[in-house]
């Protein structure tokens, strides 16, 4: 009948499938095999330190989630309910903050907090909250926007005070969205790595950081593998709980087409909106302003020295720290280009294959999502211990870091493009068929052209992901080949105000680059609408 030739679908699927098998499934299997060691398991589980780390990882994630929810509800309310000058800008700022590289967020926290709070749990919580406010504003806000204002009005005409309306009507109706958002924030903060590497101290280590430390600093690969599995078990438990909770909460909410957010009419509303919106903007932007300030300030006063001497690795004539900022920048850009190219090509092939293949496509779809479910650290760790012997001793290959980045980025490329492909009306293909086009011809003229626009957005996302990627890179990059995030973490970890200032210079550059990507994507999507 009018189906695509099997050969074509297989041809599309083969590259993503093989790539997934070689660079994800195989390393993952190696990692699991490494963890099957009675000695390593008993050592890790018998060590008191392990449980301290598990406990810290858990409670800081819970605290981060609760705080994020408390901080995020006010801006979510303002954005969902009111129209005001700067509303779109506020959402863009929060989105930009959300996609900031983890080391940049860590650097920004170091920059804005007083020295006494640096490298404490407060810095960790601050970074986590700031990162994830966007999750609350976007997921909870989206549902809030669709709750009819008149439903709250109806409650008021029945005698409910504003607080009672919130408690009895708004809150219960937002609960499913809130628990979904909470699960996301919990997962993000439970697996926090980059932030902790930058702002953390020995007492504030997550399981991820401990995996990295054991594997790369102490050479205890088997113990690190056991910790990875421990973390995967915890994540799976949370995921199951979250799905259950969603199901329990889910009710057929007849969400109406939204009444557009209104200009606040009451004086009181105007004041609250202005206060919440400006406080949110200040809190979100403050740390990044501090980043720029710190790149230009030293104990002895204002100076542009760090910016001027960014192209030299020397701290003093003849004394070098071994990290060349400009090399790191160039290396990061090259890595970004390759990672983006790989992610876009593989992701596009995968999307086309998944959209065309029916049931088999679903397997590929699920498989390609796995790298999100595990973590970048797990990906990097697995690759590190798999590709270390001939004929696959690829650790020193220049392409191993871009491949790692692409693995992290492909799920986003697939998610951005697949929905668009699936939304193409099948009748269009049928129409092309009745006009004499073969299935392949119909596919290539009707379906494929829809790919380009979402692919451009996906490419920008992939570029941003690669620029800021830190987890996998921590395992895969070699000294002398540092990327920007690696260099930033290293510089900020060194004593010496000039080195620190240089760290802030690089962080400022990376923050600016990320901001540009977000604004470009934002514009692009706005124009497409």
């Amino acid at each position: 009948m009018n189906r695509l030739p099997r050969r074509l679908v297989v041809g599309l699927a083969i590259t993503p499938a093989v790539g997934l098998a070689v660079f994800y499934l195989w390393p993952f299997a190696t990692l699991l095999a490494e963890a099957i060691s009675w000695e390593a398991v008993t050592t890790v589980l018998g060590r008191g330190r392990t449980w301290e780390i598990v406990w810290f990882t858990t409670w800081q994630a819970i605290a981060s989630t609760v705080l994020t929810m408390l901080v995020g509800l006010a801006p979510a309310w303002v954005v969902a309910r009111f129209d005001f000058p700067g509303r779109r800008g506020l959402v863009s700022i929060l989105t930009a903050v959300f996609v900031m590289p983890t080391v940049v967020m860590g650097a920004a926290m170091l920059a804005v907090l007083p020295d006494s709070l640096d490298r404490t749990v407060w810095a960790v919580l601050g970074a986590h909250v700031l990162f994830n406010v966007a999750v609350i504003v976007r997921t909870v806000g989206a549902v809030w926007e669709h709750l009819p204002v008149d439903m709250e009005h109806a409650a008021a005409t029945l005698g409910a005070s504003p607080i009672a309306v919130f408690r009895h009507i708004t809150l219960p109706l937002l609960k499913p969205a809130m628990s979904a958002a909470a699960a996301i924030v919990f997962l993000f903060t439970f697996t926090s790595f980059g932030v902790i590497r930058v702002v953390g101290a020995p007492g504030t280590r997550t399981i991820e950081v401990e995996v990295w430390r054991r594997a790369t600093q102490l050479g205890q690969v088997d113990q690190a593998a056991v910790l990875t599995v421990l973390q995967l078990v915890a994540l799976a438990a949370v995921a199951v709980w979250s799905v259950r909770a969603q199901r329990r909460h889910s009710r057929a909410l007849a969400l109406r087409p939204l009444t557009r957010p209104q200009r606040p009419r009451r004086q009181r509303d105007r004041r609250s909106v202005a206060a919440v919106a400006s406080a949110t903007a200040v809190v979100a932007l403050g740390p990044f302003v501090a980043l720029v300030v710190r790149s230009m300030s030293t104990p002895t006063g204002w100076t542009l020295e760090a910016w001027r001497t960014i192209d030299t690795a020397e701290v003093r004539p003849g004394l070098s720290v071994g990290i060349d900022p400009i090399d790191a920048l160039v290396n990061s850009l090259q890595t970004m280009l390759w990672a983006t190219a790989i992610a876009v090509i593989v992701g596009a092939l995968a999307s086309l294959a998944i959209a065309a293949a029916g049931r088999a496509g679903r397997v590929l779809d699920a498989g390609l999502m796995l790298p999100i479910g595990t973590s970048a650290v797990t990906i990097g760790f697995g690759m590190l211990i798999t590709f270390d012997t001939d004929p696959v001793d690829w650790r020193a290959s220049w392409w191993i870091v871009p491949v790692g980045h692409a693995l992290v980025a492909v799920p986003f490329v697939v998610r951005t493009t697949l929905g668009v492909l699936r939304a193409v009306d099948p009748d269009l293909v049928a129409a092309a068929n009745t006009l004499g086009a073969s299935p392949t011809r119909a596919w290539s003229t009707v379906i494929v052209p829809h790919l380009w626009k979402p692919l451009a957005v996906a490419a920008a996302f992939a570029a941003a992901i690669s620029l800021g990627e830190f987890g996998a890179t921590s395992f895969l990059s070699r000294s002398g080949n540092e990327t920007l995030p690696i260099a930033i973490e290293a510089l900020l970890g060194r004593p010496g105000s000039l080195l620190q200032a240089k760290g802030y210079v690089l962080a400022t550059m990376l923050a600016a680059a990320t901001m540009v990507v977000v604004l470009v994507v934002d514009r692009f999507q706005e124009r497409g609408r």
Partner: protein, 214 residues
């Protein structure tokens, strides 16, 4: 019905949205216990006027009076004015009984009284036995009856109805129209019905007011 209806007064009310004037110096007095219909084409500000009376919208200028007292600055929940919305606005996370008892709960009535009143109200609108249904499972006509029962359960002094019968099919519309007329006549509450349908206005209200003429 214990409470009697209130006199509703609107004095020189003006409302504009983004510079566009929707209500221009509107004044109106409705005697206690009357059932009146506000009619006018779309865009004449009928619903806007109801919202001003309910306290859901602050007028740019002018006053709203209840039995001669200025309530312009009184928040909605302290006005004792009930309202039936065009799309019902039943609370989807509550049962039918909980929806109807919501006002009593807000007033602090004990649970037993809430339950008894809910059953009584359901009886009155012909939906006996519907207590434990979810609000989302109701048909269009049932939801409308529950919305009316919910508003009347607290015995409000004034009942506002914002195009309550719009969007229903013909038979259901006519049936509900008669029920509504009957139900409103049996309460002492002052009622203001907003509609664009003159036949509906004539069937339900004692008196019709053309908004364009105010």
């Amino acid at each position: 019905m214990t409470t009697s209806g209130s006199e509703v007064g609107v004095e020189h009310v003006t409302v504009s949205f983004d510079g566009e004037i929707v209500l221009d110096d509107v004044s109106l007095t409705i005697e206690p216990g009357a059932v009146i219909a506000l009619v006018g084409g779309s865009g004449t500000g009928k619903s806007t006027l109801l919202r001003v009376i309910a306290g859901l919208l602050v007028p740019d200028t002018g006053r709203v009076l209840l039995d001669g007292c200025d309530i312009t600055d009184t928040p909605t929940h302290r006005r004792g004015i009930g309202m039936v919305f065009q799309d019902n606005q039943l609370f989807p996370h509550l049962t039918v009984a909980e929806n109807i008892a919501f006002g009593l709960k807000m007033a602090g009535a004990p649970p037993a009284e809430q339950r008894a009143q809910a059953s009584r109200s359901l009886d009155e609108v012909g939906l006996a036995g519907f207590e434990r249904r979810q609000a989302t499972e109701l048909s269009g006509g049932e939801a409308k009856r529950v919305a009316l029962a919910r508003t009347l359960a607290t015995d409000p002094r004034v009942v506002l109805l914002d195009e309550p019968l719009t969007g229903l099919d013909r038979d259901l519309h006519d049936e509900l129209m008669h029920d509504l007329a009957d139900r409103l006549r049996r309460t002492d509450a002052t009622a203001i019905l907003v509609t664009h349908d003159h036949a509906e206005a004539d069937a339900i209200a004692d008196r019709t007011v053309e908004l364009a003429g105010l």
